[in-house]
Amino acid sequence: MDFDDSTEDRAFREEVGAWLDRALADVPDQEELSQDEREAWSRTWQDRLCEAGWAGLSWPVEHGGRGMDALAQAIFNEEAAKRGAPYPLNGVGMMLAGPTIIAHGTAEQQARYLPGILSGETYWCQGFSEPGSGSDLASLRTSAVKVDGGWLVNGSKIWTSNAHNASMCLLLARTDPDPANKHGGISYLLAPMDRFTVKPLVMINEDTEFNEMFLDDVFVPDSDVLGGVGNGWKVALTTLAFERGSMALNLWVWARQAVDRLVDLALERGRCDDEAFWDSVGALQCDAEAVRIGSMRMVAESQAGGIPGPETSALKSLWAGVVQNANRMAVQLDEAGGVLLDGDGAAARMRRYLRARAHTIEGGTEEVQKSILAERVLGLPRSR
């Protein structure tokens, strides 16, 4: 059990650090920006990653990547996060679409779609959830009807990050309306978005990270079915595994930052020298560090050839708790319980508190994470 960088890791970390220092020189503090400005910087940042060849960091060399492993990606993300780098705007392309197409795509699909992700030309989004299918993803109803040469897709999707910037969608649709089991009959389509109607969803903190998408006779050619007709559920599980893996690389940083901000605020207000505060921060610190260490162990397991296990759900659950509690405590430390938004920094704190309410919902609800732990770690019978 060794948590230190190997010699090569250290060299890579230095290489990454040096590049980041240069590439971030003109990038302002993202926390201070409006959502629009943040998004513009995310796009610029994506371009810089692509230009420098970081976009395919952990993709195999034969697909244009650098062929490095999950640890290298973790090191890159960690160094970027330390420096407050923007979030790359085509994360779905780099982290989900690329790896899934590499895993399940035909040579032709790989040749058609991978270069656009590496070059930064094609942005992707993930069309899985539907208004009627949240935690119960397999109940999705978007229908794909066979037509000459392809499929005609109709339906709606929801909670789609970045849909307004994407031109391609990882789309789950039902190609068999009456399958023998509910996971059957789903296919995974690589869908062009020119006939999608995208409507931003305003969140309770006024941000518009997510979208609703309406599909009206979207045509997807047969050649863009990924992994074969009716095999969509299996392919989707691959994407979800990549999503969990890539989340875990970032989660701990957000948890640490939430605790940092809380402590900084308390320092500023002279409210951090009593035992009750130490007690609360101590509890947060334990869980935040547990998420960091758990992520390192997860990366090490993937690196050793294993697949991250269901314990990843414990990290997601701990993480959500840390950020929610730290952000709530920060609001409560604020003058007037944080409800006067024109107070110094109050609006941003309240926005973060509200944003964090979603952490027990997005990326698999808290209830879903606990079900995974119960069923797959403890072997308890299904409750649903």
């Binding site: 959830s129 409560q332 007037a336 944080g338 938004l341 509200l354 649903r384």
Partner: protein, 340 residues
């Protein structure tokens, strides 16, 4: 003992509910367009301002519980009426026995000013020219009741400076209010503060109830995995816990109101306990309401966040929930120390 609602109290609740209808539209509209008086505002002010005011103070001799029952019903609907703020201000005065007739008739609209910026609890004095914060509906108020533990002052608009603040719940506009001059105090401040604080506790109890009702309705109707999500214990038990916490808050509020009205020796601790419990219940219920709504819960277009906004604003008002909880504990310790 008749620890049940009187027929009158049941009527009050029913009447208020009928008047406000489903006014969540008002709370939502305020988000986009700022506060405006709901259609029921004037009628509430005119019809109910005497609730909780004794005959000695010029009122109809109604109990504080009567008022709480009305405010709780308002809270559940989130109706953005000035009534609760006005009624709380009247209660600040009622402690001293001098409520202007125009206020009792709902013609002169009051609001209370009790928290000094940077402090968590009630102001120590009503005198001086120290600014008060978290003053609700100040922009449209006719007069201001500045209160501290040593008494109250009733100030007209000309005697204060009002600085509008940005409220997390635009349906409850908040302001800083600064008296421009010192002045004479009336009455016993503490009794008034207790009475007014219970008005906030009652509204919070209502907010908690409204959030629970909304979440339960969603849980009965939303299906996943072929079943209503309310049939999953993980969903159902969050709301069951909210029910227990909310019942605690409301029972404490009712008892505290009775204790204050009857000058019981435990009135002070009961008021603190009620406000602490009510803030906790409302915030908890609103957060659970968001969680049970899943993805919809974090959208602006769904209603759960409206409950959270109101809950947090009221939890901060008339002393934060955390302050009241600590006061509850401190009084309990003091009581036990005295009896040892």
């Amino acid at each position: 003992m008749h620890a049940t609602f009187t027929r009158d109290q049941q009527d009050i609740a029913a009447t208020v509910r009928a008047m406000v209808g489903d006014e969540k539209t008002g709370a939502r509209a305020a988000l986009d367009e700022g506060w405006s008086a709901p259609s029921c505002d004037a009628a509430l002010l005119e019809g109910f301002s005497g609730l909780g005011v004794a005959e000695s103070a010029g009122g109809p001799g109604s109990s504080l519980v009567d008022l709480l029952v009305a405010v709780e019903a308002l809270g559940a609907s989130l109706v953005p009426s000035r009534f609760a703020a006005h009624a709380a201000a009247i209660q600040l005065l009622a402690g001293s026995g001098e409520v202007p007739e125009a206020a009792l008739e709902g013609q002169q609209v009051l609001t209370g000013a009790v928290v000094v910026p940077g402090a968590a609890g009630w102001a120590p004095t009503a005198g001086g020219t120290t600014t008060r914060t978290l003053v609700a509906h100040a922009e449209s108020a006719d007069a201001f009741v500045v209160a501290g533990t040593d008494g109250v002052r009733l100030l007209d608009r000309a005697s204060v400076e009002v600085r509008q603040r940005e409220s997390f719940d635009p349906a409850v506009p908040l302001a800083d209010v600064t008296p421009t001059a010192d002045g004479e105090l009336a009455g016993a401040g503490e009794a008034g503060l207790q009475r007014a604080t219970l008005v906030a506790a009652a509204e919070l109890s209502g907010v908690a109830q409204g959030a629970i009702d909304l979440a339960a309705e969603y849980a009965r109707n939303r299906h996943q995995f072929g079943r209503p999500i309310g049939s999953f214990q993980a969903v159902a038990f969050q709301l069951a816990e909210a029910v227990a916490v909310r019942k605690a808050a409301w029972d404490l509020s009712l008892y505290a109101a009775w204790a204050v009205d009857n000058a019981r020796p435990d009135a002070a601790i009961q008021v603190h306990a009620a406000k602490a419990a009510a803030g906790k219940a409302a915030v908890f219920a609103a957060e659970r309401c968001i969680q049970v709504h899943g993805g919809m819960g974090i959208t602006r277009e769904a209603d759960p966040h409206l409950f959270l906004r109101r809950a947090l604003v009221l939890d901060a008002s008339y002393g934060t929930g955390a302050w009241h909880r600590r006061r509850t504990g401190a009084l309990r310790v003091a009581d036990r120390r005295a009896s040892a």
